[in-house]
Symmetry: none
Subunit: 260 residues, 2 copies
DNA sequence: TTTGATCATTGGTCTAGACATGTCTACCAG
DNA sequence: CTGGTAGACATGTCTAGACCAATGATCAAA
């Protein structure tokens, strides 16, 4: 890789870090660089500043900076080569990132019209799963939201969402049947969602689910458990979406990373 | 997690490291512990020795040991919790979806032993789906391979694979029960697989599937339809894998690309 | 011109500490 | 019995160095 890159260092001089912040220094650097890299300013192959140069610029030790670089490397955004340097990863590695979408976006992309019926919206104490995931003090409460999701007015899924009250006080004032919760979080609470993990399995519907979705006896459901994170790996949302097995297919695009 | 574990340290006293070895110390430790953990000696939730204890035992610094622990944590073998300790992770049969993997690679990465029983391997004329996907001349034939996939000798999935004869003539000469088809394609036919799309849905098993997988009545299956491509978007494989619903969870990691 | 040695630069590994922060237990006061 | 707190102990973060190993450019010798 020849990779012209004399000005590589320039783009990163704008990054500022606060050592006194509760956010770890390496996370601040990784976040800032992730944003720069995602913005697409740097073509694949662009050389990043050598570790030692950035250490000096930020006034931090090399091990700390390497934590930031390692984070980005694991995410597939950059590639390190001993003796050569660190480079912006080629597009194909970035592409392997599955794009995260809300139900609204998902249905719309299939050419259907999404809608919702709000079934439940209330504050509840934390379940053991909430405790494990959100890691909050015991007294914190959780917004529990249950919605029936429809595509072209046909029930497709039941959604059960848990979000800490801390994250979005007075969430119940919004019209949760009309608006995407993701957009409410991002636009009204300034919560930037960055990534999520989904656990997909097949299951038998509960009686309630079967009734809500108008399902026949014996038909299975597709259950998607989702854990959504914001900046700094902050846990934001714990959700379970139960889809009618005969009406929904999850689509996943993967790439082969280690070619032989 | 109460997790009795006073003797936790004991199991790791047998690990020996060579500081003069060309293999990094942290890799030696991670390798040794990985083998111990995969052997199944330690039930999920068992406490591992505190970092400082192992440091002293091995005569290394804490940052080095942490590199080993972090490696294992990324692999999903252990879990660290600040203030509590490090524990053996629960063994779930999971599909890490950000990278494309064969069943073999997937099971092995979970520390289980994958195996297969070849049910069918024959040449068949193209189905309408084959015609649409492979876009071959009418006379071309297709290898149809059906395999029962097992993890630690327990049936987990039934796989039905279609690959054009053109791509891999004499594929039937290989031991398809013992070898990963992906590795045969890559090593023996020089076919570089680059990416795939998967369509995941819940369904009811056919009678044959139910019998092969040893399933109870009423249990659903998770069906994954896969379209695999090689270089230049060449269609290579059309496959359907039917997993036992109670034994398999597909995991998808997604990122939010366009904030707002 | 080509080959080969040298050497500065880069990331990879490692050390021996430090302080911060989350967790749990044991004990003590009410 | 309850509630709070002090302390022990765990991982998380960070420092300021060190040496190793791979790379690639430079330069001298064949």
């Amino acid at each position: 890789m020849k990779s012209a890159a004399p000005p590589g260092t320039q783009g990163f001089t704008s990054i500022r870090i606060e050592k006194s912040s509760p956010v770890p220094v390496y996370a601040q650097i990784a976040d800032a660089m992730r944003n720069l890299l995602r913005s697409g300013v740097f073509p694949a192959g662009t050389a990043l500043p050598p570790e030692r140069a950035l250490c000096e610029q930020f006034g931090i030790s090399r091990m700390t900076l390497r934590q930031a670089y390692e984070t980005l490397e694991r995410e597939g955004l950059i590639e390190s080569h001993r003796g050569r340097g660190t480079f912006v990863a080629p597009q194909r590695l970035q592409k392997k990132q599955q794009e995260m979408r809300s139900f609204t976006e998902e249905i719309r992309s299939r050419g259907l019209t999404p809608s919702s019926r709000l079934l439940v919206c209330r504050l509840v104490p934390q379940s053991s799963l909430d405790v494990e995931f959100f890691n909050l003090s015991d007294t914190e409460q959780i917004y529990e939201i249950e919605r029936l999701r429809l595509a072209d007015n046909v029930p497709v899924a039941v959604e059960l969402i848990h979000i800490p009250q801390q994250v979005c006080p007075h969430l119940d004032r919004f019209d949760l049947a009309a608006q995407s919760i993701y957009s409410i979080l991002e636009e009204n609470y300034g919560v930037a969602l960055t990534h999520c993990s989904e656990y997909i399995s097949a299951a038998r519907p509960t009686r309630e689910q079967k009734q809500l979705l108008g399902m026949q006896s014996g038909e299975p459901v597709l259950t998607v458990d989702r854990r959504t994170f914001g900046d700094n790996e902050t846990p934001v949302e714990l959700a379970t979406t139960t889809y009618r097995g005969d009406m929904y297919t999850a689509i996943v695009h993967s790439v082969r990373s280690n070619s032989v």
